[in-house]
């Protein structure tokens, strides 16, 4: 077992080294096969592990001591339990599909860069696996920063483009801010508990050791980390920009896996979070407000990937809402389903973009329904799934979260439903403008329009199926299902408290949300199936179109002032004050030199006069023996 688990992590690493070092050696075929093959391998191993966990329960394996010194040690342990094994499947599964997809999508790149791309991708999978498999927060943190690195590298994959690099940098730095919080939380744990292994931290007795302030602080700091990684307010702005990366990357990293790391981390440490009322409220509020904010923005975006990006942010908001209201299983459920349908949507978008020769503006599309049948169908399924229309997967997961939210506080539910409605609206706005109506692009684009190769469509189909049926793993008791997932997660999150709602209310809520969702999506369809919407004129429209001017705000309030501050330090403090003091001393010496030497004026008369005066001074010194010497002796003694 130890080996298998080890190799789940190692395969992608091998792939990374293989492609990274051999980037000038192998031809694209080899690269593609190897890269995908390694991920598939670790997918297979993951399945084995999963089954093993199913049968035998959680496993922790120790490899070596990462840090073992000065009385505290951080072992390099990996742990597979229900939660991580699920994530394993998602990561490696979706991962391998996306690798497959990429082989075709990236085929225009020349070999070395092709290799680089897959190397990054493999490295990402490696770090992600480390993140979910680590048995303590430090290993998690290693993966945590690792994925950040890979997302940086992949967003900036086309490195000659300055804006892409800027986006990459932005992503990394914002993640870093979050990571700082995470790091501080880890230190706090170390100081209080002396260990960071889940096994010893996430237990009742260690919980007892911590005061409420400790718990609140730790959880909040952890949440800051999650904010960064999972693009929550206020650290969400990097994710839309991250769409600069190749589309498969957006699908894998910025939709399916990396961005859900925050959810994984919080679910992992749910004991802590449940113990702090305050934090839960914060999480919930941040989550829901992110969901709404992103949704409103998504309504007015015209870049196909931007829309998806904001919808991702919004969906992540839902997950955090779920976490905030204690519906951990719901959150995880949504993670899984979202992984499927959002990956699907991105890949679909990718296929569209591929067909449109890297045209991303939906206003120049339209009527692709006939040209790209498979893409169209799968995309539609994705949209329905995300819109939360039964019986597609999105419905179940979202509904579970909403139900829990209602139980916690109806306002959450209300907002959630509004968000759901907007989701349905912008998704179908996107769908309609892209696939319905007639084609609005240039003729030669129209001439080249064609369905993508099978390497791209196959993942689409598989993911479509998955996002259609994935709901099955969490059919609520209400519908006669026995929520398999929540039973799965019992060892992690304990028995889900029975949602204290009568069935009738549940049905009512469900109906309401579904009804609203469907009606809005219909509105969206017939509003946009004819024409795309123009550059907005209304104030509100502009406001949304410009993403609430958040980037501008950050720039004005944070970036510029800091920049100016740095400039002030460099130009004024450093140059004039600190260095000035040093040089000033030298100047003083030279000045006094110029003055003192004038005493030596060449006149014997003066010299002798000075001698006489010197004698007088000495005598005076000695006369005032009594007075002066007291002073000096005190000085010397």
């Amino acid at each position: 077992m130890k080996l298998i688990i080890g190799f789940i992590v190692l395969w992608p690493l091998i792939g990374f080294l293989f492609n990274g070092l051999g980037r000038n050696i192998w031809n694209k075929k080899v690269i593609a096969y190897k890269a995908t093959g390694y991920i598939v391998m670790s997918f297979i191993f993951s399945i084995l592990t999963f089954l093993n966990v199913q049968s035998k329960g959680a496993i922790t394996v120790h490899y070596f001591d990462f840090i073992n010194t000065a009385g505290f040690k951080i072992p390099f342990d990996l742990k597979v339990d229900a939660l991580s094994s699920l994530f394993l499947l998602v990561i490696t599964g979706v991962g391998s599909l996306i690798h497959l997809y990429s082989t075709a999508y990236m085929k225009d790149e020349e070999a070395p860069h092709y290799a680089r791309y897959f190397a990054y991708l493999n490295l990402f999978v490696f770090s992600m696996l480390l993140l979910v498999l680590g048995d303590n927060y430090v290993i998690m943190f290693i993966g945590w920063e690792g994925v950040g690195l890979c997302s940086y590298l992949l967003i900036g994959y086309w490195f000659t483009n300055a804006t892409y690099n800027y986006a990459a940098k932005k992503a990394f730095i914002m993640n870093r801010i979050g990571d700082l919080g995470f790091l501080l939380a880890i230190f706090w744990l170390i100081v209080k508990l002396g260990t960071v292994s889940y096994g010893s931290v996430l237990t009742a007795e260690s919980l007892a050791k911590l005061s409420t302030t400790d718990i609140t602080a730790i959880t909040l700091l952890l949440f800051v980390g999650a904010m960064g990684k999972s693009a929550q307010i206020p650290l969400y702005t990097w994710l839309p920009d991250a769409m600069a990366g190749p589309t498969p990357v957006s699908a894998l990293i910025h939709a399916a896996t990396m961005v859900t790391a925050g959810i994984y981390m919080i679910t992992r440490s749910n004991i802590l979070f449940s113990a702090s009322e305050l934090t839960q409220h914060v999480v919930a509020i941040v989550g829901i407000s992110t969901a709404l904010l992103a949704a409103t923005i998504a309504i007015k975006q015209n870049d196909i990937k931007k829309v998806l990006a904001y919808s991702t942010v919004s969906q992540l908001g839902y997950m955090f809402l779920g976490l905030g209201v204690g519906a951990y299983s719901g959150a995880v459920f949504h993670v899984i389903t979202h992984a499927f349908f959002k990956a699907l949507l991105f890949l679909g978008a990718g296929s569209v973009i591929h067909a449109m020769h890297h045209e991303q503006d939906i206003r120049k599309m339209g009527g692709l329904k006939s040209k790209l049948p498979i893409t169209h169908i799968t995309f539609l399924i994705g949209c329905i799934a995300i819109a939360g229309v039964p019986p597609f997967s999105g419905f179940f997961s979202k509904d579970e979260i909403l139900a829990a939210a209602f139980a916690k506080n109806p306002i959450y539910w209300g907002l959630g439903v509004i968000g759901a409605a907007m989701t349905a609206f912008y998704m179908f706005r996107l769908y309609a403008t892209t696939f319905l109506g007639q084609f609005r692009g240039t003729d030669e684009q129209a001439h080249h329009l064609h369905e993508s190769p099978s390497a791209m469509t196959l993942p689409l189909i598989l993911l479509a199926v998955a996002s259609a049926i994935a709901g099955a793993i969490g059919i609520p008791a209400l519908m006669g299902g026995n929520h398999w997932l929540s039973h799965q997660l019992v060892p992690i999150i304990g028995e889900t408290k029975e949602v204290a709602l009568s069935h009738s209310t549940e049905w009512a809520l469900m109906g309401a949300s579904v009804g609203i969702a469907i009606s809005t999506l219909l509105i969206a369809i017939n509003r946009y199936k004819r024409q795309a919407d123009e550059v907005p004129q209304t104030a509100l429209g502009k406001f949304l179109y410009n993403k609430w001017y958040v980037d501008e705000l950050y720039n004005a309030v944070i970036v510029q002032p800091l920049n100016r501050f740095a400039g002030f330090l460099k130009e004024v403090i450093e140059k004039n004050i600190i260095d000035g003091a040093v040089n000033g001393t030298g100047k003083i010496v030279q000045y006094s030199a110029r003055k003192i030497r004038l005493v030596q004026n060449g006149q014997v008369g003066y010299y002798i006069l000075f001698i006489v005066l010197g004698i007088i001074v000495l005598f005076l010194c000695w006369f005032n023996d009594i007075t002066i010497t007291r002073f000096f002796t005190n000085l010397i003694k």
Binding site: G605, L609, V612, L613, I615, I616, F619, L620, F623
Partner: protein, 166 residues
């Protein structure tokens, strides 16, 4: 007030006056002559103190040899009295002032010296000033310095040669 005291005061006054004259007289030659008078006065003091040997030597060496040497040199360069420029008044004043303050300091200090209270100087008695004991002392205890001072003269001689030779 016996004759000794009278002599003492007279000589002192005379010495001081002529010393001052050395400073104030414009013409260098006059200064030399005044200085010679000072030396005479001092020799007079020596005689008062019954140090005849020193008195004679003082007359011979200083008033005789040294001062004549000065005189020669001055005449040799015949520095005109009117030619000699004066220092600025302020400088002079500072000079006088600092000299005066030095004097006051020293005097104040001597006044404070308790050990000197009532110490008398032996006038016109005592034999130590005479040639006989001096000679004894010089060639017994002080023979080494006496010899070594010859080195001084030798070096001075060499020096004079080096400097003086064209």
């Amino acid at each position: 007030m016996n004759t000794l005291e009278i002599l003492f005061y007279a000589l002192s006054a005379f010495a001081i006056v002529s010393a001052v004259m050395v400073l104030v007289s414009k013409n260098p030659i006059h200064s030399v002559l005044w200085l010679i008078l000072v030396f005479f006065a001092i020799s007079g003091h020596y005689i008062l103190l019954n140090a005849q040997f020193l008195a004679i030597v003082n007359i011979i060496v200083y008033a005789g040899a040294i001062m004549v040497l000065f005189l020669f040199v001055i005449m040799l360069m015949n520095v005109k009295s009117d030619k000699e420029p004066q220092k600025k008044m302020i400088i002079k004043f500072i000079g006088v002032f600092s000299g005066g303050s030095l004097l006051t300091l020293l005097i104040a200090l001597v006044k404070q010296t308790t050990q000197l209270e009532g110490k008398q100087v032996l006038m016109k008695e005592g034999t130590i000033g005479l040639i006989h004991p001096l000679g004894k002392a010089l060639f017994n205890d002080y023979v080494l310095p006496f010899e070594i001072s010859s080195v001084l003269f030798l070096s001075a001689m060499v020096g004079a040669v080096i400097i003086g030779k064209k």
